[in-house]
């Protein structure tokens, strides 16, 4: 199970309800002259649906025919730190585990190959330590912190799709021995990363 904050697993706020409502209104293709009563009914349904799902939206909904539900429901976990290049790091004592976020895997598409470093290699904060291949593209994966690689996820060579299906757990990529504890301080927490993703998606 993902490590989730015990009292607030996810947040559902008015902004997310508005997004869900907008999505439902679009999908329902309301006719001209639909009443405020109809919209209020949908709003209430959307609110109860959102509460039941308990999902936090990491990106803003886009009202286009190609709208993807997965973009609205990207997961951001408490207890992790995040880089602007969409990697996460989980720091536990002298070990830091790194992978790419749900937002990143969703935007990349189906991962078909993962290139990882050898244990013993040193990586620098912001520098590339490997790559994933998806669709027709190779995409660099950058380390949020500096350190030495102590373990890589060998399951990814046979099952690269773990990055898509379980980006924060089974899809972890490397474990590092951090060399500079202060690296973590400049990374984003869950709230800031959620906002960052929303702003990034809104700008494009």
């Amino acid at each position: 199970m993902p490590t989730i904050h015990p009292t607030h697993p996810f947040r559902t706020d008015q902004a997310n309800i508005e997004r869900l409502t907008s999505l439902l209104l679009y999908l329902g293709q309301p006719k001209r002259g639909s009443t405020e009563k109809d919209n209020m009914a949908l709003r209430l349904w959307a609110s109860s649906t959102a509460n039941a799902l308990g999902v936090s939206c990491a990106s803003k909904a886009h009202l286009f025919p190609s709208f993807s539900l997965s973009r609205c429901f990207s997961t951001v976990l408490d207890g992790l730190k995040y880089a602007t290049s969409h990697e996460w790091v989980k720091h536990e004592g002298s070990v830091a585990t790194i992978g790419i976020t749900d937002h990143a895997q969703d935007h990349l598409g189906e991962v078909v190959f993962v290139e990882l470093p050898e244990p013993g290699v040193s990586v620098s904060k912001g520098g590339s330590f490997g790559a994933v291949e998806s669709v027709k593209a190779t995409s660099d994966v950058n380390s949020p912190i500096s350190g030495e690689v102590i373990e890589v996820n060998s399951k990814l060579s046979e099952s690269p799709g773990l990055i898509n299906s379980s980006p924060y757990e089974e899809g972890w990529m490397v474990k590092l021995k951090p060399s500079s504890p202060s690296d973590l301080e400049s990374l984003m927490g869950p709230k800031d990363y959620t906002k960052f993703c929303e702003e990034e998606d809104a700008a494009h």
Binding site: E115, E133, A137
Partner: protein
């Protein structure tokens, strides 16, 4: 006197049109255009990888044909699955593993290469991920092929109708990306025979198999190379394609031509390329592995 006035007017018109052109280009990102002809695909890919990783400029590279037929695999390409190793070894066909993703092609003088290497903010509003970049390229080539054939971007390929003539690959770094294409101007069917049918084929390559007695769908099968691809030469002249592409790019960028020799840092001996020419020994090792796999399957 009249001739003098006409000459003056002509000069004014000339300078006005230059000023308008320059004013229009102000605000457009700069794009360096490098035109190559017959450059080896290995050297082209090494240039592109180096520019992607070490340059901060935008680059638009056209290589009009490559002299030696060469097989080019994507980053994760497995020779055993993708190429007919026995004939490749026999005929000494070079095999390259490139730095970008995507599938396997065999390129030769009938291939035209077009590559875009861009900073992530070069195209306003474009997110540096595979799908948005692919879509942007489709829009660009829509302009190129307007009025010519039934052009589409279809599942990451460029097609006329349902026949592929352009294959794409990308590589995305923290702040830059490359989108490069091999266009099939013409091809030699004998060269296609060096490639196996890929295990992962796009949906539109599949044809539905029907059993007519009784009528039912019995499955699907990938079209062979000859039924799947088409040649650009059947649609427009070679030079017209190149000039139409340049013109389309000029509507989005301020394009300036640059000679390869003017890129002073290429080749940079200190830069470590991941694009590699596979050695004969490596290919032979893959061939042995394939042979061993076949033997163990038959036992």
């Amino acid at each position: 006197m009249l001739i003098h006035i006409k000459k003056q007017r002509g000069l004014i018109i000339f300078w006005l049109s230059m000023a308008i052109s320059q004013a229009r280009n102000i605000g457009l990102p700069l794009m360096n255009l490098v035109r190559l002809k017959g450059e080896t695909i290995l050297r082209q890919l090494q240039l592109e990888e180096q520019l992607l990783r070490t340059s901060s400029d935008n680059w638009f590279i056209i290589n009009d044909g490559t002299n030696t037929p060469t097989i080019v695999m994507g980053m994760s390409g497995k020779p055993v699955e993708l190429i007919e190793l026995e004939s490749v070894l026999r005929d000494r066909v070079p095999v390259i593993r490139r730095f970008s993703g995507g599938g396997t092609v065999i390129v030769d003088c009938g291939t035209i290469f077009v590559s875009f290497i861009c900073n992530k903010d070069a195209v306003p509003g474009l997110q540096p991920y595979p799908h948005p970049i692919m879509s942007w390229s489709g829009l660009l080539y829509n302009e190129v092929f307007r009025g010519i054939g039934d052009f589409h971007l279809r599942e990451n390929d460029y097609v006329f109708g349902n026949r592929k003539f352009g294959g794409n690959a990308q590589s995305i770094t923290k702040n830059r990306w490359i989108h490069h294409t091999s266009f099939l101007w013409d091809y030699d069917a004998r060269n296609m025979a060096y490639l196996k049918l890929p295990t992962r084929a796009p949906e539109y390559r599949l044809v539905t198999l029907l059993n007519f007695t009784p009528s039912e769908i019995t499955g699907s099968q990938a079209r062979g190379h000859a039924e799947f691809v088409c040649c650009m030469k059947d649609y427009l002249p070679r030079s017209a394609f190149i000039e139409r592409t340049v013109k389309a790019v000029e509507t989005h960028f301020s394009v300036r031509s640059m000679q390869l020799e003017a890129i002073g840092t290429f080749p940079d001996a200190t830069f470590s390329h991941s694009t590699k020419l596979l050695t004969k020994q490596e290919l032979e090792a893959f061939y042995s592995l394939q042979f061993d796999n076949s033997l163990s399957e038959s036992l």
